[in-house]
Symmetry: D3
Subunit: 161 residues, 6 copies
């Protein structure tokens, strides 16, 4: 067995390789925050329409924002080994670029485990909702680069770009 494989730690599998929910009973609750982001690529004309003052962009983004916030709260129902958590804050923001919408989600918690899955879930479902809201106008959208941007408040802070 190669060295790299030996050192990889899969905390979500037990010794027998079975799905394993991590036991967080003994962890001290701290304030934790995670930020995730992702992009929905669209045709330039769809982006122009979305950005235009003359187009009712409001409800497209408002609907995606609500869907993202709601999804963050459903994370433990969607991802089998996630713990149920009492999120203290969920924020979903949009930035309109020339060929994509950048979605950024921030989740906060006073608790015993990180909230990056919640932030990623908020981004993903907000992105799916944007896709749904625009799909009658644009058949070639895609969701991309959904990743963790930063994570603070646990054992080790992480900062990606």
């Amino acid at each position: 067995m190669s060295k790299s494989k030996k050192t990889l730690k899969f905390s979500h599998l037990n010794q027998k390789g079975q799905a394993n929910m991590v036991d967080i009973s003994d962890k001290t609750p701290t304030t934790r925050e995670a930020v995730a982001s992702g992009k929905v690529y669209m045709q330039p004309e769809t982006m122009t329409a979305l950005k235009s003052e003359s187009l009712p962009k409001g409800d497209v983004l408002a609907t995606a924002r609500i869907a993202g916030i709601q999804a963050a709260k459903k994370t433990s129902d969607l991802i089998p080994l996630c713990h149920p958590l009492m999120l203290s804050k969920v924020k979903v923001e949009f930035e309109l670029a020339s060929d994509h919408v950048l979605i950024t989600a921030t989740c906060k918690l006073v608790g015993s485990t990180g909230v990056e899955m919640e932030a990623l879930t908020a981004v993903s479902v907000a992105a799916l909702t944007l896709f749904d809201m625009c799909k009658s106008a644009d058949k070639s959208m895609s969701l991309s680069e959904i990743h963790v941007v930063s994570k603070v408040g646990g054992k080790s802070d992480v900062k990606h770009h």
Copy 2:
């Protein structure tokens, strides 16, 4: 107003720009199928571990498959303007490449509206679950290229690559 904007059809917004669920009461039920796919990029060592016979890869993919199937059934609860649907089939498959897992989901329905959002949701949540299962071993994963591959059975068939 530019010509492109005028011709774009946003069926999920009404004339006032408000979120609008499409009325499918008068559509005749037909058999419909949609396929979507997406990738979870991982470090080569994570992929090697996932592929290795000696590593219990079974439950990682089995868990992500179940999560994807379950999520397809929850689509109308996640995406605000999606109709509740009685999916007749959901399939989630994985292909392990050198630096990513390719996830493909197929949804079928005898009904009055397409199921591409259901297939995209299955892919996204299977991808999030893979991310969750492997995140203790790999801090730099990302979800990418989540898109509709094909859609048949409605007014117009669509085939992406």
Copy 3:
């Protein structure tokens, strides 16, 4: 026993007075529509703020609309004896009067049972969401006059005011 009691028909109770889901197996599916409405009473200043061009009223109503649409789809999960239904359309509309917001919800279905509970649930949850969105500004709101406005497509059409 009085005559009025004898003639009242409680189809949601069996002969022993136990909760009873109506059997709709033998009913022929038809296109059905129900409209319900209700009011959220607010202070005149809250209404003025909500109506003002200078105030970001958009997201208040957009959020309540999405919540109402989502709630209609959850009706059978909220009301114990309601059947799971595949709504073909949900519409939630707002009218801003001087001391209240009038909420109207329309639900449609091709199916075997009426959708007035779905329309009432959409109105109620949209109203609760409006309440939640405005409660930091107005401590004396109330929800009132939530009722069925009309119901067509079943055995007998009904029209209330």
Copy 4:
């Protein structure tokens, strides 16, 4: 802009008027309680039937009570900007008057935010369930006067009538 508008505080909207979940990370958990009530107006004969010893009223109220308790626990799934909460107690009570049922719900929590939305949701869904249970007998019911009765345990106690 009028003075009244300036002083109104909409904590559920950010500066740009976008839906905003309040950040409760820094709030100290305290024991909180909220009471809400509302009425379901019915025809006098329906009320008589409901009150009569000879009529199986038990399951009507028992069903509505369970639905109200269950709904309080679903509040953060129904109202987009509500936080997930661990309610420590939900109580739903009924009083039968001559032309209406008065529903009162009490919610308790040791936590960082008030529970009036939970109490209002319990009342509303218990009322919708009563409506559903009695609608075969009475076509003219309505839900009214759903409001917060009292709220204790947060920054400021509130008592309405």
Copy 5:
């Protein structure tokens, strides 16, 4: 490989042994019904209390009945490979014996797949609710003999005892 193993048909696994949702797209909808039953064993004194006129047994059974009906509607959310279904009828009944409560659930559907999992789920959750309602009085209860009693309306009718 033994003969018996060869002839066993696991339709919920594909050729690779992966979880497999059966494709019901081509099945013709028919009226189907399934009955399941199960027992909650209790101490004789708990049973006596439950049966006594002087004890408020009403809400114990009413609560378990509602929980069972609601659970039947949630089956596809609980059992990963079950299809979402539009149940046309759910019935949950109790019989009080000397040392157990017999729970019987009947589910009906006009659709393309059987509803025995829905009936079994209704029985199981009604039984869990009975357990919960009585556990302060009886520490030694158990759920037993939960099985399919009969199934009609599909390819082959089944009758167990």
Copy 6:
């Protein structure tokens, strides 16, 4: 009234016999653990197939494990008087005997109430999922002996066999 009835304590009913959620506001959070188990009886040939190296048993048990873990998190949505809880750990294990699968579930919590209902729910839904996964091969399965094995961390520890 007999002595046994007087001494039985039904904390889930109030004085009027109405469903009553226990108030846990004043209970001090402690670390609690509950273990429950149950059996799915199958034909010996089904058990042989399940145990055989040549049969893809992996996904059957993996699917049932995920379903059990997910169900534990849904307990308060399934059992009307259960409190919403933040489980810190859920474990579901299987032992293959000659004529049954023994399912054992362990739930942990730092909180104010016991988690035996969560462990029982995990066992029951894992058992229902096993049933569903094997029902095409075996028509005579049953779920039995679902009970609490042990409970520690509350007022009084309990140990059953």
